[in-house]
């Protein structure tokens, strides 16, 4: 992992569109990170949410073809929440959110995203697919689930998660192109899996 000083340097570079820097837009206060001594950057909740609503859809099958993906998209309902406005996440409910910040990792950095302990202790799970690959560019999609017993109010603009960037040995390979980024939560399509297809045939 990067210490707070290295992290601050990477963020400063990224602010000026240096391709070796860690771009976080809007950028956190670099001095705050340096002074905190922490190895993470706290991120805020963006304004778009996607809820998968109940419908005639009987199940999701991500291994199925694109017709199924369209059906998934039909079940997705978008919400736009103004800064400070609330959305109530009831027990056992799930909603996709995204970070307010747009992140771009250089080829030399990967990162892990985790929730904030204050939320976790109240039953709010932030993210389960926690790896962020080098070269990623976009707002991070969050999988918000209330596993507690009490409804939780979430508000756009509030602190929601943190990323822990770390160095990547070599640092040449980009697993994502620069064009994958989105500003809204994204359900996404599974990547093609020829091996599975031949196994299933």
């Amino acid at each position: 992992m990067l210490n707070s000083s290295e992290l601050a340097k990477k963020i400063s570079l990224g602010k000026n569109a240096d391709e070796n820097g860690l771009s976080i837009i809007p950028a956190p206060q670099v001095t705050d990170i340096e002074e905190s001594g922490e190895s993470s950057v706290t991120l805020r909740l963006g304004r778009w949410l996607v809820a998968l609503r109940q419908s005639s859809q009987t199940f999701f099958d991500v291994a199925d073809d694109k017709v199924e993906l369209r059906a998934e998209a039909r079940a997705a309902k978008f919400y736009f929440i103004q800064f400070g406005n609330k959305y109530v996440l009831h027990p056992n409910r799930f909603v996709l959110g995204s970070t307010l910040e747009w992140i771009k990792l250089p080829a030399t950095l990967g990162a892990y995203i985790t929730g904030k302990s204050t939320w976790a202790r109240r039953g709010l799970i932030i993210e389960t697919a926690a790896g962020i690959h080098p070269g990623f560019s976009g707002c991070l999609t969050l999988e918000l689930t209330n596993v507690g017993e009490v409804p939780i109010i979430i508000r756009s603009g509030m602190k929601i998660c943190q990323i822990f960037p770390h160095n990547v040995s070599g640092g040449e390979y980009k697993s994502h192109g620069p064009l994958t980024g989105r500003r809204r939560p994204y359900l996404g399509a599974p990547s093609d899996d020829p091996l599975y297809r031949s196994l299933a045939a």
Binding site: S23, P26, Y79, F80, K104, G138, L179, R183
Partner: protein
């Protein structure tokens, strides 16, 4: 069934519909506020009808029913507009910047509603909805809602509100009428060709032109058309001054070569609008990539009778006479009231550098700088772009809208 029964039920249905609309998820408060005002109005209409029925006076009842019908007819499209303003297809991130721009141009009490239309044309109700006098209602075509590159067209639509707010129709009405009279006198042969049945008339004095009912009517029609046309020129001037070169690109994207069919008499021909933009817009069109901007537009000549043709030619001529003045007026107003929103080349260059690196910009410049950088990104990359990866317009729209959102966030954060 009596007309009062029917009218009462129709009003009840409208109020019920508004109640249901009020249950929507409103991304911005202005739509909700507008709906509440409309609800209050229709409740007032229902009470008025009730009082009219109590009088047992048939003309009073008929009058109340007629007014209620008229208001339902007038405002139902507005309800549809407000409903569409809640649809998540809209680029809500642009709202704050457009509201700020509207307030700079129109005053701090201006309200703004961004919606989408199922007509392929940007639409505005420029503060002319009598129940919503301070509301600018702007709808962009639904198929283009996610396309941030067409946001400069909002500059044109805001121009209609500025035109109304500054009472420019009244200001220019006399000038236009005088120019119409002058056109008629100096092109008398054209008049005689268009109206052979009035061969007995001769070139008249200004007073006689006014006193002659037939000629006064023709002049009035010329003036009306020309006023509509110069309002459109004024709006182009506002859009150009605020958004700079991106207004050219958005105009071209949206309108070139034409929409098919004939030109609308209420607008100068597209190629003429393009010529005015290139001539009076204070932007070198060759530098921004157009060899001849005017020739990008091809519109069929208006086919009509000799009367309509004469009136349209006269209106075009009058508009041509004042186009430069109108552009100057638009530029003066926009620069005076919304200087912070006019293009800043340094900010655009910085934002473009961020876009080239695949990231949005941070609190640099204004909405116009962000959109200008977006168009420059498209121009620089379109020939080598692989659309199979992702369409360039979709990608750059993500960057533009996120940059605009960050602008809003930073402004909010600064106030903390």
């Amino acid at each position: 069934m009596s007309i009062e029964f029917n009218t009462r039920e129709k009003l009840r249905a409208v109020i019920g519909q508004i109640d249901r609309l009020l249950l929507s998820d409103f991304p911005h408060t202005a739509s909700e506020e507008a709906l509440k005002r409309l609800k209050k109005f229709f409740e007032g209409q229902a009470n008025r009808l009730k009082r009219a029925i109590a009088t047992n006076h048939i003309p009073t009842i008929v009058g109340a029913c007629s007014t209620a019908n008229e208001r339902i007819y007038d405002y139902l499209p507005i309800l549809g507009f407000l409903l569409r303003s809640t649809n998540v297809r809209n680029s809500f991130e642009a709202y704050y910047s457009l509201l700020s721009l509207a307030r700079a141009l129109l005053g701090n009490d201006a309200e703004f509603i961004l919606s989408s239309e199922w007509d392929y044309s940007p639409l505005t109700y420029p503060m002319n909805v009598s129940l919503l006098p301070k509301f600018v209602l702007l709808g962009l075509p639904s198929s283009e809602s996610p396309n941030a590159l067409i946001l400069p067209l909002a500059g044109h639509e805001l121009g209609h509100s500025v035109w109304q707010n500054e009472q420019l129709e009244n200001h220019y009405a006399t000038t236009i009428e005088k120019k119409a009279q002058k056109y008629m006198k100096s092109n008398w042969k054209s008049f005689q060709d268009a109206f052979p049945e009035h061969q007995e008339l001769s070139v008249l004095s200004d007073d006689e032109l006014i006193d002659n009912m037939f000629l006064a009517q023709i002049i009035s029609e010329i003036s009306s058309l020309s006023l509509c046309q110069i309002e459109e020129c004024f709006c182009d001037g506002i859009g150009l001054t605020i958004f700079g070169s991106s207004y050219f690109y958005a105009f071209h994207y949206f309108l070139a070569p034409n929409f098919g069919g004939y030109r609308s008499p209420d607008y100068p021909p597209l190629s003429v609008r393009a010529r005015y933009m290139a001539k009076y817009g204070e932007i070198d069109t060759k530098y921004i990539g157009f060899k001849n901007f005017e020739k990008e537009f091809h519109e069929e000549t208006f086919k009509s009778g000799s009367r309509e043709k004469y009136i349209l030619n006269a209106a075009d001529n009058v508009t041509n006479n004042v186009a430069r003045t109108i552009y100057r007026r638009a530029q003066t107003i926009a620069k005076k009231k919304a200087a912070d929103y006019t293009p800043n080349p340094d900010a655009q260059a910085h934002i473009l550098r961020m876009f080239e690196n695949g990231i949005p910009s941070e609190a640099e410049g204004s909405i116009s700088d962000i959109v200008n950088a977006g168009w420059n990104f498209v121009r620089q990359n379109r020939d080598t772009w692989k659309d199979a990866d992702r369409p360039i317009v979709e990608w750059v729209s993500e960057l533009i809208l996120k940059s605009i959102e960050v602008l809003e966030y930073q402004n909010e954060a600064m106030q903390c």
